[in-house]
């Protein structure tokens, strides 16, 4: 019974990890680790696959720290993602969710959702696990009527003694099983259960979690076909023991039959291909994958004339939404156009609407309006590369064009803000000469922020921008008003001068700074200000004078 042996032996060999652990700790950008591994917001990168010889002689280690986002899967032979996740059936916690946040349609409670180990706290003795509600909402957003706001946040505790399975995250991405005649090392990321979910004692806040333990036995096969060898066995539970007394996931009760079922489904699952290379889409997406919701009406109203058939026109005014995997959309965004095949599109439709589209050739491209996509697009989907070098001349040559530009700026109310480049350079620790646009760009690039808008209290945009022009227009007007109102009310209390207000909305968080006639609003990157960032933005505001 190699599978059981693999579990037993590996679970007692946790001391073999310190080398890997230290390597993991040396990983830069600790906060990235947390963010990329949590809530399925991003997948960790696929580590380099060691040679077969290395794999047989070394204990495989799956680093969880992700320095780069995964490459889009463009072919059916792509390597599976390797981030280990816990698979938890919806039924384990569904009844404990706040009813007012739940969608009216009851989901399939057997459906597995996947949670990053960092986001789950295991109570050893009680055999219970606790996950923040916001994490669950990220893992299975479709069961909620709206995103979980900070004010909704509660811990959700559920029992581990039920059918909770620890498994690798790639259950839907595992390549087809290959016949395995000889003992082979595990695939990267296969059947991995992380060891500790908390930093070791003494580790600094925000440092990467200690290395996760891979429950494999060196040389012991873990391929799906190997698992089949225990398929007929009764369903014992396997308890992995731990050398550490800390809260960890090694004591998660793992029903073997559940693992077998997962591996079987993984072996049969077809990986997603990018839309540009012939789309394959199973019609539903696992919650581990990012999805994007689109209003069907919006798609239909943008169909090319050749596709506007009477049967489709009947659907005018429909409020149906379709869900497509982000993997299908994201690689196409750089082309300025997104299409899916009619076959893929039909699979995403509810069954009752599919007949309306039967007449369309399956290979026909259905354009998806970019505007619709951007209504639900995660901001990280269009991040600029990080190694960019700004091309700005350091010195200014006086030209007649410049004089005209300054005249126009005055006429249009632009560029009236005076900046003290040297002091701003000191704030941003850069030698680059900073003017207003560059300064605002730099504010938007501070850790934890994703965009920045500077406007006057009259609502005139001066520099920067938010996610959409509509947002900019609304924020330019609303934020100064809100700030002034709050400031006047708070002035009566003795809290001191109001510097910043932060609004936690359903989807985004934004903070506003007001200084004289200048109003600066930043959009946060999922979380509130990281240490020191608010003060830095405030310091920038102090250097801007209208």
């Amino acid at each position: 019974m190699p599978f059981l042996n693999w579990f037993r032996k590996k679970s007692t060999s946790t001391e073999a990890e310190p080398k890997a652990s230290s390597a993991d700790k040396s990983s830069p950008e600790p906060t990235t680790v947390i963010e990329t591994a949590s809530g399925n917001s991003e997948q960790a990168s696929v580590p380099d696959t060691p040679s077969t010889e290395q794999q047989l002689t070394e204990t495989p280690v799956i680093p969880l720290s992700a320095a780069a986002p995964p490459e889009p899967k463009t072919s059916s032979t792509a390597e599976p993602a390797s981030t280990p996740h816990l698979s938890v059936p919806l039924g384990a916690f569904y009844e404990k969710l706040p009813p007012h946040l739940l969608a009216s349609i009851r989901p399939d409670l057997k459906r597995l959702i996947q949670i990053a180990p960092e986001d789950i706290v295991i109570e050893e003795n009680a055999e219970e696990a606790t996950v923040p509600l916001s994490i669950l909402s990220l893992s299975c957003p479709d069961i909620f009527v709206r995103p979980v706001a900070a004010s909704d946040e509660i811990p959700i505790t559920f029992s581990l003694s039920g059918p909770v399975a620890a498994s690798a995250a790639e259950s839907s991405q595992q390549p087809e099983a290959q016949p395995l005649k000889t003992a082979a090392p595990p695939e990267p990321g296969s059947l991995v259960v992380p060891a500790d979910t908390r930093p070791e004692e003494g580790s600094k806040m925000g440092e990467p979690h200690p290395i996760k333990e891979q429950l494999t036995e060196s040389g012991s096969p873990t391929r799906p076909d190997e698992i089949e060898s225990v398929e007929r066995q009764p369903a014992p539970t396997v308890r992995a023991t731990t050398a550490s007394g800390k809260i960890n996931l090694r004591d998660v009760t793992v029903p073997v039959d559940e693992l077998i079922r997962l591996r079987e489904s993984a072996a049969g699952a077809k990986p997603l291909a990018s839309a540009s290379s012939g789309t394959e889409f199973s019609g539903h997406t696992s919650s581990a994958e990012k999805e994007i919701r689109l209003r069907l009406q919006s798609v239909l109203s943008n169909l090319p004339p050749g596709l506007e058939q009477p049967s489709i026109q009947d659907l005018s005014g429909t409020e149906t939404e379709i869900v497509l995997p982000l993997d299908l959309i994201q690689p196409q965004l750089a082309q300025g156009r997104v299409v899916v095949s009619a076959a893929t599109f039909c699979k995403a439709l509810p069954d009752d609407l599919k007949p309306h589209f039967e007449a369309i050739e399956p290979s026909t491209e259905i354009p998806i309006p970019l505007r619709e996509i951007f209504l639900g697009l995660p901001h990280e989907a269009i991040k600029l590369r990080e190694d960019q070098e700004m091309v700005h001349p350091q010195e200014t040559i006086q030209t007649p064009f410049r004089a005209h530009a300054e005249e126009d700026a005055k006429r249009f109310g632009l560029e009236q803000v005076k900046v003290n480049s040297e002091r701003l350079q000191a704030i941003f620790l850069t030698d680059e000469t900073l003017d207003l646009p560059k300064t605002i760009t730099k504010v938007g690039e501070l850790p934890g922020l994703r965009s920045c808008l500077l406007n006057t209290t009259d609502g005139l945009k001066l520099a920067g921008g938010l996610d959409s022009p509509d947002q900019e227009q609304a924020v330019s007007v609303l934020a100064p008003e809100l700030f002034k109102e709050a400031r006047s009310k708070l002035a009566e209390m003795q809290f001191g001068a109001l510097e910043t207000i932060t609004l936690h909305c359903g989807r985004d968080q934004l903070s506003t700074f007001l200084q004289g006639k200048l109003c600066l609003t930043v959009l946060h990157d999922n979380r509130p200000f990281k240490p020191g960032i608010r003060e830095k933005v405030q310091a920038v505001m102090n250097e801007l004078v209208l």
Binding site: A334, I382, Q388, V391, T399, H404, A405, E415, P437, D467
Partner: protein, 209 residues
Amino acid sequence: MPTINYAAKEIQFKIVYCGAALCGKTTNLVYIHSRIAPAHRGDLVSLATAADRTLFFDFLPLSAVILQGFKTKFQLYTVPGQVIYNATRQLVLRNVDGVVFVADSQWDKMEENVESFRNLEQNLQKQSLSLDAVPYVLQLNKRDLQDVAPTNYLQYLLNNRKRRVQSFESIATTGVNVFSTLDAVTQVLLHKFNRERGQLLAVPGGGGR
């Protein structure tokens, strides 16, 4: 490559406005022409169809600064944006010194923007020029319209290269940031010229100083 006339002590730079059809290239030149004093500009030559589609190119000569004793002149051109006029674009892009890429901010123009940008790269390559070696700036035009894409998406589409160039949100019809764009590309190309060719002007007999 700028034209240097040592006898007349003149340097001529060629700046080409590129971009998809109807993105506002000609509108930029019309606005610039309207704001520059007649003494410092020539006539705007515009060969367009009745539907205001540029047929061949627009041309606007401008006098500008004194650089190391040389009077600098700028020739502003636009290219026809329509796909079929690629041969004309290649012709206009010959010996270009600086490029303003005008992007149409409307959602349904994103693909055309990307195609036009790629076409620019390809046409430069045919002159053995890399876009990275040519001074250029981005102008995100038509920001006053309702159905426009966010600027971060336009940056993602057009400014996601190793070199991140300056970009300007503009409204060419009213002139917002039209001169800022022109000034920026002028700055970049003058700095490049100073860096790479400045010594040329000081060659004995060249009369550079």
